[in-house]
Amino acid sequence: MTDTTSSQPAPIEIPEGVWSQPAVNMSAVADLESVEAVRSVRAFASMTYDYTPGLATTRFLRAIKEKRLVGERCSETGKVYIPPRGVSPVSGLPTTEQVELGLDGTVVSFCVVNLDFTGNAQEIPYVSALILVDGSDIPIYGLVREIPYNEVQPGLRLKSVWVEDSELTTSFENIKWWAPNGEPDVPASDLADYI
């Protein structure tokens, strides 16, 4: 924690010649010296795009609207990627075979978040985890709930918890969070390739 009772730290001394910008000479515009100088500006910019996620991600998002998780397989290595981007990072070749995945997964890695990054959307502390969905070869991010944060560990088996069927859309937010599914933990040695 920062000690707010102490005074500001001393300014950093910059060695002479390393960096310097000479003081401006205001003698010809002396009246500007008597008013408060502008030191910063707001440089706000906003740009709107019509975003398209591409073919593979569209296939993934259309499936997720049907409460299904669909990965895509690398033709060279057989690895299954989720969410698919259309190309295998190992072979550089297109992934064209869709693979129906399970709706359960395994914690590969996790962290306990004690800072409110979400503007009170999540009660802290909460657990953010890398989850290996059954049938896939690369973990995805997810929240882990319905379990005390200090009981989460790699190998923990999870089920995906979805929004109501009537609320399903083409969005990854269909999965609200992940929760223990009651199955025994997966041994750490089985996860070595995914960390």
Binding site: P22, V38, F44, S46, Y51, T58, T170
Partner: protein, 153 residues
């Protein structure tokens, strides 16, 4: 059944609006800060190079030699249009909400032009025309303090 990548038409691909915002605050340093301070006071300043040439708007270093520039000097609020183009369809964020001219305007006392806009009819625009600055009534020390230029009648 999953859709086949080879037959998926453009109309089948998802689309969504995406807004990217850059809410940056930038420090000005003493030279640009002085120019914006002057704008807030409703006037212009430039900076003199080693040959006595006045650059407006001012910069910290000579764009040709890289030498530090320090001597701020007053510059007039009227000037001459050196080049112009016509902006028929106004885009978000541009200085005026109706068609206007972009100009390179060289202010009296300056030796370089600045890019800004002129509020005038298309047919009134001409290289060499005289224009004067129109300032905002409430000024905060930003480029928004200078609304535009207008023809000197």
């Amino acid at each position: 059944m999953p859709e086949d990548a080879t037959t998926m038409g453009d109309e089948d691909v998802l689309r969504a609006p995406l807004v990217l915002e850059y809410p940056f605050k930038r420090t000005t340093g003493p030279v640009i800060g002085a120019f914006l301070t002057a704008l807030r006071e409703g006037r212009f300043i430039g900076i003199e190079d080693d040959n006595g040439k006045v650059l407006c708007p001012p910069v910290e270093y000579d764009p040709a030699s890289g030498a530090s520039l320090t001597k701020l000097v007053p510059v007039g609020s009227e000037g001459e249009v050196l080049s112009w183009s016509w902006n028929q369809s106004v885009r978000d964020g541009q200085p005026l909400d109706h068609p206007f001219a972009w100009v390179m305007v060289q202010l009296d006392g300056a030796d370089t032009p600045m890019m800004h806009v002129v509020d005038a009819p298309h047919e009134a625009m001409a290289t060499g025309m005289r224009v004067r600055a129109r300032f905002a009534s409430e000024r905060i020390g930003s480029m928004d303090d200078l609304l535009c230029f207008e023809p000197v009648s």
